[in-house]
Amino acid sequence: MFLSRRRVLQQSSIGFGSLALASMLSSKAHSGEQTQRSHHPPRAKRVIFLFMKGGPSQVDSFDYKSKLQEDHGKPLPFEKPRVQFAPTGNLLGSPWKFKKYGESGIAVSELFPNVAQCVDDLCLINSMHGSNPAHGGACLKVHTGSDTFVRPSMGAWISYGLGTENENLPAFITICPTLAHGGTKNWGAAFLPANFSGTPLGLASQSSEQVRVKYIQNREMNFKQQRAQLDLTQSFNRNFLASVGDNAELESRIQSFELAFRMQTEMPEALDLASESESTHKLYGTDHPVTADFGRQCLMARRFAERGVRFIQVTHSNTDVQWDQHGNLRKGHEQNAAEVDQPIAALLSDLKSRGLLEDTLVLWGGEFGRTPTCQGAGNNGRDHNPEGFTMWLAGGGVRGGIQYGATDDYGYYAVEDKVHLHDLHATVLHLLGLDHLQLTYRHAGRDFRLTDVSGHVVTDIFA
């Protein structure tokens, strides 16, 4: 039976299919065809992306600048970017103290005392840069690589490239994502087959206690009755299949119902945090009102990682104060950091102790950083800054305890070993065993890539 690759991808019965699966099917059909599971041996099997919506400030967290402290209140001694989101004033020194941690002696601010303890596992990229200074464009850029066009998200590309390791769960799950500033585009499949889009669990406006996959449970009948109902439906489906003869799509539809039935038990089990020990809950801070919400999200991320979900995004977007302090930097950043610091450190140490950090790539960052110059009525805030900011990676084949690249003396522009968001995408794909130049999809007459026409793999950060 002939199944075109595209057709298989579209019709994949499990809904969370993969190029890998499609390759297996098609290689069965056409022996000799090369499978595309990965392009080279992977260093990581999955990604957890801790997304700090709003744009956390690099010079107040992981990019210490002594000169900024010295020149507080003075004008920036060089030009500001051609395109700025809004005007800013003079230099604003960080209100937080920095301390050196670990064997690496990397300086981390007092905003992140717990994450600081893990600094020897972190690979800080201090020279990140993007190109869009507005939330919407920048969110789209970091998630999809384009702030101009509708393109598949990073998670969708990875699901497309690698599929899932657990066919009863989606390959790409995003926990409490935000709807604003790109919304579903940030986890969408765009022109890739729809089944590669992320499965959202809840939204930023909901408590992580309420998250669940939509329609995962039937509230109208018991399990036995639903099984009987499904048997009836499937009997109808088989009759129909017989009435039209050989039809791959209808066969795969029958399979999709069976998988859905199994998912009904698998997904609630994965989300059942009650089965975790008290000490684990304490570690993640789910017992404390400040850290409970994000702590639960991180704990879910670990449970999904254990179960073979390929790409897990966890969004921190406190609906009152996102990481977006145009004013009142101190209050806003302190609150945000307090909510995420302990859960993130917990996730890192928990993954490590379970042996999962080796093949799980943890990625932390926002859509951009913030300006070293001040803003706001009290001159105590910072503007958006895509010109230079910090993201960090941990686990999954990257070197821990290093700082890669650098910004200028004040932390405004990335100047040394610059890493563009396209480069980050290329690097993440590479760590997963995918070549960003080869991971393509033909659409509207040409082959598309996550990195479009850019992207360099930053091999220097590999372990």
């Binding site: 464009g137 109902q229 439906t233 009759n239 009435s243 007459g445």
Partner: protein
């Protein structure tokens, strides 16, 4: 597989042939013929070392990143993938100058570190002086990578003129009298319908026999869903089954074409191509409060069978068709131009020029792929890599849209353009209001005058007689309001407050998203797509590969939209008709004659039946671009009416005969490329939902009108990610709000178009999340319950009820096996309910974390009898089954 390889090599071949046909007369760069010794010295001392140190590693003899080498003069002038690196004499139009300036975030060279100011100055100076180079005068004709050979390009099949081909002489595969609904009048085998003749000729050439016509109940279901997106009613099915006249099927098709639901179905197809949505999407998801007017315009246009050429001209240039309109007229033409406005825009883009060009690009891409089947957007940054569309062609078209006013303002947060479309009543209310405002303003002006006079009189009284002479010299100080008396100030404040209130109470006037003529100007080529590096200015015009030597002229004071629309819909245009008939074919058959319906370029698929496509395209124009006439051509063909499987063939002998033919078809043509049988396919998301609503008896058939509850231009959800859009409506799916970035989840599950980018070829997937929706959603439960309640209210036996449900859902009666299986299921379900009442309660309690939506659904078993629960489960099963969701 093999095929991909073949496509690649074809593409490569085409590329090679394009390169081979270098256009000899194009040498835009003015290269100095004889540089002076001093100029050469400057190059050798300053420029070559600089290039060698900073550039040759990646753009030299060994490596040519981006296809560019800078170690030869020819290399620089020819350029790489992004076009020429340098225009001699023009540093501001040279890519290399832009790259070293670090102005453009996306192109900074050398990548590691900016050159020194002196180095940049030197390089720019060198380009400005004509790039004197030791190789000057020796490079001959250099063809910049941005030019292509148009003559070679015109050979592509889609750019050839449409000529109606001769119809092959074939006889119908169906004996007259075989089928009472056929239009046969002759006593011998009839000559095939032209569509069938082309299809049969192809089938015969492969030694294949097509299946005969499907039985009548299959046909009416197919045709009814196809033309209206709704299932046929039992009455409609019976009427057709009982109609023995020769033209029974024709009557059905005519009835459906005249149904107001026809426009709802086919208008929606066009809305996929028009990337219709009720919100902006992208970054600032503002509500398109007036987009529905465009949607209704599209529906009405289909219902009235508006000729496609007129339909297109209105959408591209409706405003220009009614230049002297009164305020209350010409609305339809204005609303039509909403087509250009409803695209997604980055409204908070800080860089206004980038936003403007992004919006223009979105329009060029939409018109390019939607109407012309060309991926014109590919030529934004560089000459198209595959199709004969030059970089300049893109900006010739872009100039037309840039000269069009799509936006009211680009200032943060940007606003799209809307125009007032008052009806007579609104207009008179508005005029009355304006009168009141004018009167109030006049009253204020008079009061101010009075107060001023009071001040002047007061001043005069205060001046002592001795001051009088001196006071003659300077002009008296102008009176300021702060000098007014308290009474005057108070009265003025009152009047102004009244004015403010009055102005705020302006009567609402209907508005439409629409364009107008903007600042008319030609646009410069944006090198590498960046507005920061502009190249030559290009006259507004149409792609040269299509217009040949006769570029229609665009008046200096007009954008050129109307001229563009007229050119698109001219008889000579080889694309417009082909693209549209192929779309219509796609929507009837589930796949296009050209499979890549939005791409007729070199990387698109070739037509499976090129002559048929051309016959249809020529016919379409001859029929005055009538879409309904095209439906008739297609639906009256045997090709459309074929069975998909022998089991749908009425005549027992025919059925037996067809079994072998079918087996051959499946074996030799598994993809049904040759249309030997009708392809089974799933209903689209809207039809799935509408069919469920219709079958459950809950469908609200109200037509047209606004649908979103968010006021125009306000965000459908803010940073709190709470979306207030309501989807509870039981109206047809066409009237479900289309919120970009947060599509109604049922639509998303069933492969709805993205609504941000046009798509004429929706996917049809089968995924577990779809199954979960069908099994567990409150919507399915409610619909199943309505259906169950209705059937239980009928005075019927159990067997009769089951038969009725099958008839309503599938348009046929159940087999005995099916009937007994259903009875068994009902019995089991009810018994289980009575045996184990506790279990259900437990399963409810364990679902603590449920969303609000799912909690609101009807639940508690105590309220619903076991009998109803069992029938509800059965109805849900029927509504979830393949037979309900798929067309044969």
């Amino acid at each position: 597989m093999n095929r991909t390889g073949a496509v690649t090599s074809v593409v490569l071949l085409v590329l090679c042939s394009l390169t081979a046909f270098v256009k000899a007369d194009e040498t835009p760069s003015k290269v100095q013929e004889q540089p002076t010794a001093e100029e050469i010295r400057f190059f050798e001392n300053k420029i070559r070392p600089l290039l060698a140190t900073h550039c040759y590693d990646c753009h030299g003899e060994e490596t040519q990143e981006g296809g560019l080498r800078l170690d030869t003069l020819a290399g620089m002038l020819q350029g790489g993938n992004a076009g020429p690196a340098m225009v001699a004499g023009k540093p501001d139009r040279s890519l290399i100058s832009n790259a070293i300036s670090y102005r453009d975030n996306d192109l900074r060279m050398p990548p590691d570190e900016r050159l020194t100011d002196q180095q940049i100055k030197d390089l720019n100076h060198w380009i400005e002086s004509g790039s004197p180079h030791p190789e000057s005068g020796q490079v001959g004709h250099v063809r910049p990578t941005s030019t292509i050979d148009l003559e070679a390009g015109r050979k592509h099949w889609a750019f050839q003129p449409i000529v109606a081909p001769d119809v092959p002489q074939m006889e119908s595969s169906i004996e007259p009298g075989d089928d009472k609904s056929s239009a046969s009048t002759s006593s011998t085998r009839q000559v095939a319908h032209p569509i069938d003749a082309f299809v049969l000729a192809d089938l015969k050439s492969q030694g294949l026999n097509p299946l005969p016509r499907a039985d009548k109940s299959t046909l009416i279901r197919r045709a009814t869903f196809d033309l209206t997106g709704l299932p046929p009613t039992i009455q409609e099915i019976n009427a057709f089954l009982e109609d023995d006249s020769a033209d029974a099927f024709h009557k059905v098709v005519e009835r459906l074409l005249n149904s107001p639901h026809y426009g709802e179905r086919w208008g929606r197809h066009w809305l996929d191509v028009a990337r219709y949505a009720d919100s902006n999407g992208l970054d600032e998801n503002a509500a398109h409060g007036n987009a529905w007017r465009y949607r209704d315009y599209v529906v009405q246009s289909f219902n009235r069978d508006k000729p496609y050429d007129e339909f297109l001209v209105e959408q591209l240039a409706g405003d220009l068709l009614v230049p002297d309109r009164e305020p209350t007229t010409g609305h339809e033409q204005l609303i039509a131009t909403g087509y250009l406005v409803i695209g997604p825009k980055v409204l908070a883009e800080v860089d206004e020029s980038k936003m403007e060009m992004d919006i223009v690009d979105e329009q060029v891409d939409t018109v390019g792929r939607g109407v012309m089947g060309l991926t014109l957007g590919c030529a934004r940054c560089h000459t198209h890599k595959f199709d004969p569309i030059e970089h300049a062609d893109y900006y010739a078209l872009a100039g037309i849209f840039k000269s069009t006013k799509t936006m009211e303002t680009f200032k943060l947060v940007a606003r799209w353009n809307e125009v007032a479309i008052p009806n007579a009543e609104e207009l008179s209310r508005q005029q009355a209001h304006e009168q009141l405002v004018a009167e109030k303003k006049e009253e204020i002006a008079q009061r101010v005058e009075l107060a001023k006079r009071e001040v002047i009189e007061k001043r005069a009284a205060e001046i002592s007689p001795t001051d009088v002479e001196e006071a003659e010299k300077p002009e008296p100080d102008p009176v300021e309001e702060k000098e007014f008396s308290e009474t005057a100030a108070a009265e003025l404040k009152k009047l102004r407050d009244e004015l403010k209130k009055l102005e705020e109470a302006a009567p609402e006037i209907s508005h439409a998203m629409a364009v107008a003529e903007g600042t008319v100007a030609d646009t410069a080529i944006h090198i590498r797509g960046s507005h920061l590096t502009l190249g030559e200015t290009v006259a507004r015009g149409f792609p040269r590969v299509l217009v040949g030597d006769h570029q229609p002229s665009i008046p200096e004071d007009r954008s050129g939209r109307l001229e563009f629309a007229r050119w698109l819909t001219s008889r000579e245009n080889p694309l417009t008709s082909r693209v549209m008939v192929n779309r219509i074919w796609r929507w009837h058959f589930g796949k296009g004659i050209v499979a890549t319906v939005d791409n007729f370029g070199i990387t698109g698929e070739s037509p499976t039946h090129p002559e048929l496509l051309d016959w249809l395209a020529a016919r379409f124009i001859d029929d005055q671009w009538s879409i309904k006439e095209m439906h008739r051509h297609i639906m009256f063909s045997e090709t459309y009416q074929r069975a998909s499987h022998p089991s749908q063939i009425e005549d027992v002998e025919d059925r037996a005969e067809a079994v072998n033919d079918w087996a051959m078809l499946v074996k030799k043509d598994p993809g049904n490329r040759s249309y030997g049988r009708f392809g089974v396919r799933r209903l689209e998301a809207e039809a799935v939902r509408d069919a469920i609503l219709a079958t459950s008896g809950e469908l609200d058939r109200t037509i047209g009108g606004p649908v979103i509850n968010t006021p125009n231009r306000t965000l459908v959800f803010n940073h709190t990610s709470q979306d207030a859009t309501a989807y509870e409506s039981q109206r047809r799916s066409l009237y479900i709000p289309i919120i970009r970035n947060h599509l109604y989840d049922m639509f998303q599950l069933f492969d709805y178009s993205d609504a941000s980018v046009l798509s004429g070829d929706r996917d049809s997937s089968t995924t577990s999340p779809q199954a979960l929706f069908l099994m567990n959603s409150p919507f399915m439960n409610e619909m199943a319950e309505s259906m169950a309640v209705r059937i239980l209210e009928c005075e019927l036996t159990t067997e009769q009820r089951i038969a009725r449900l099958f008839e309503e859902a599938y348009g046929r009666f159940p087999t005995e096996t099916e009937s007994s299986e259903v009875i068994q299921f009902l019995r089991y379900f009810e018994e289980d309910d009575s045996q184990d009442p506790a279990e259900f309660e437990v399963s409810i309690v364990s679902t603590e974390n449920s969303s609000a939506e799912e909690e609101s659904s009807s639940d508690s078993r105590s309220e619903v009898s076991s009998r109803l629960r069992a029938w509800r489960a059965l109805c849900q099963s029927i509504l979830s089954s393949s037979e309900f969701l798929y067309l044969r």
